[in-house]
């Protein structure tokens, strides 16, 4: 390996650039963002700043987020069928995606109990904003999502006919603020900090 003078750890400069060597760290590089391992050394793979704590590289440019297994995502319901609801993921964690990604919520993954009695039509409707957790990648290009936790489910629903705001009234119902009509949903229990793991 050609060792150039530039190969020394760059602590003085405010930025690191792809290929720059980082100070050694016991953490496995797989758990850190913006770094990779070559020949036992850790190197930066993007341009950014080295964070002191874990010596990960915090990107200067907000990076494209790929939802990973276990991430909490926000998605909009596109269509609902008997077996699954098609959604588009619009943000991962606190990061808003530039482009939406496809996601799917299967009937079995809507809630944790009484799975066989779930009716998707009574859980989601198009245009609902749903908080969900990523299970992984399905066969297609869609991420498989789940709402089978009490904190997950519809967090925002509107009445389709006039767009009026609906308010959650129970774990399974939303009520229209204008007409007072009730509709069935898988309602999320909104807590401020949901752990992402």
């Amino acid at each position: 390996m050609a060792v150039t003078s530039k190969d020394t750890p760059l602590t003085s400069t405010p930025f690191v650039l792809p290929g720059d060597k980082l100070p050694p760290n016991s953490d496995s590089a797989n758990n850190r963002t913006g770094v990779y391992v070559r020949d036992g050394g850790t190197y930066s793979s993007i341009c950014g700043k080295v964070t002191d704590s874990k010596s990960t590289v915090k990107p200067l440019v907000p990076p494209f987020m790929c939802p990973e297994k276990g991430n909490i995502v926000l998605c909009r319901v596109l269509s609902v069928s008997q077996i699954s609801a098609k959604v588009e993921i619009i943000s991962v964690g606190s990061q808003v995606l530039k482009e939406p990604l496809m996601g799917i919520i299967r009937r079995e993954e809507v809630r944790a109990s009484e799975k066989d009695k779930v009716s998707l039509f009574q859980s989601f409707r198009p245009c609902d904003i749903v908080q969900a957790r990523v299970l992984g990648l399905g066969e297609g290009q869609a991420y498989v999502l789940t709402t089978a936790e009490s904190e997950l489910g519809v967090i925002l629903a509107r009445k389709l006919c006039h767009g009026g705001r609906m308010i959650p009234v129970s774990w399974c119902e939303y009520q229209c603020s204008v007409t007072g009509k009730r509709e069935k949903r898988k309602v999320a229990k909104v807590i401020n900090n949901i752990s992402s793991n």
């Binding site: 150039t4 792809p18 290929g19 793979s45 993007i46 440019v61 790929c66």
Partner: protein, 241 residues
């Protein structure tokens, strides 16, 4: 003239450079706001614009790869880029070939396994051609990728080299490219010295290969230093504003 003097006995090339000197290199990063990353790179009179989109969702199912991102690269030359104005159809063979070569190059440099099931689009266009088109394209794409924040192992730096009277000559302009010597274009990851792109036009004898390659790698180190400073300057500026 048949025997044009490409290198004078005083050691100066036809444009006044010494054999191992690069042309003046300047770069404008992030000029295109729609794209995720973009760079306009000027190496002497060769001007290249590179834009990067992504990573984003694959547009066709067939592009999706379960373990890594799909890289799509399109190389093209503007109609006004060469001395003669020429319409260039998109399916131009040489452009397709270059596209493919660039794609393979950056597949080797980008940490593609970070983004499975997604796609990275790279568009590169020659605005003015004065030799070393491919090498300059590679440098420009590197800048655009860094701008887009796509994780890479290292910069990819490339230079073209030829051999005139047994002297390796680096960063060819159009005249030198058209000259009698074989042209070697080498792209490396400058930190590790790994070769990710290598192209030889016309025959180059194996005895000369080492010499030429070495000079190309040295050239890449110099390109790297320049690109590094340019990027840092750009970052400092963008942070201030």
């Amino acid at each position: 003239m048949a025997d044009f003097e490409y290198l004078s006995p005083e050691g100066l090339r036809s444009d006044g450079r010494r054999p191992q000197e690069l042309r003046v290199l300047s770069c404008n990063i992030s000029h295109c706001l729609q794209a995720d990353g973009s760079a306009y790179l000027q190496q002497g009179n060769t001007r290249v614009i590179a834009t990067v989109y992504g990573p984003h969702d694959v547009s066709r199912r067939s592009e999706a790869q379960h373990d890594k991102a799909f890289i799509n690269c399109q190389f093209s030359m503007a109609t006004f880029s060469t001395s003669e104005r020429k319409k260039r159809p998109t399916g131009d063979k040489s452009c397709l070939e270059t596209s493919l070569a660039l794609k393979k190059t950056f597949e080797a440099a980008i940490l593609t396994d970070t983004y499975p099931h997604s796609k990275i689009d790279i568009f590169v266009q020659i605005l003015q051609s004065d030799g070393s088109d491919k090498a300059v394209s590679i440098n420009a794409i590197t800048m655009a990728l860094i701008d887009a924040g796509i994780p890479m192992k290292d910069y990819v730096c490339a230079t073209s080299v030829t051999l005139i009277n047994d002297t390796p000559i680096v960063d060819l302009n159009y005249f030198e490219e058209r000259g009698p010597g074989p042209e070697l274009i080498v792209g490396t990851l400058p930190k590790s010295g790994k070769i990710v792109f290598l192209q030889v036009n016309s025959r180059l004898h194996i005895d000369n290969m080492e010499k030429v390659l070495k000079e190309g790698m040295n050239g890449n180190q110099r390109v790297h230093t320049i690109l590094d400073t340019l990027i840092k300057k750009h970052l400092e500026k963008s942070i201030l504003t």
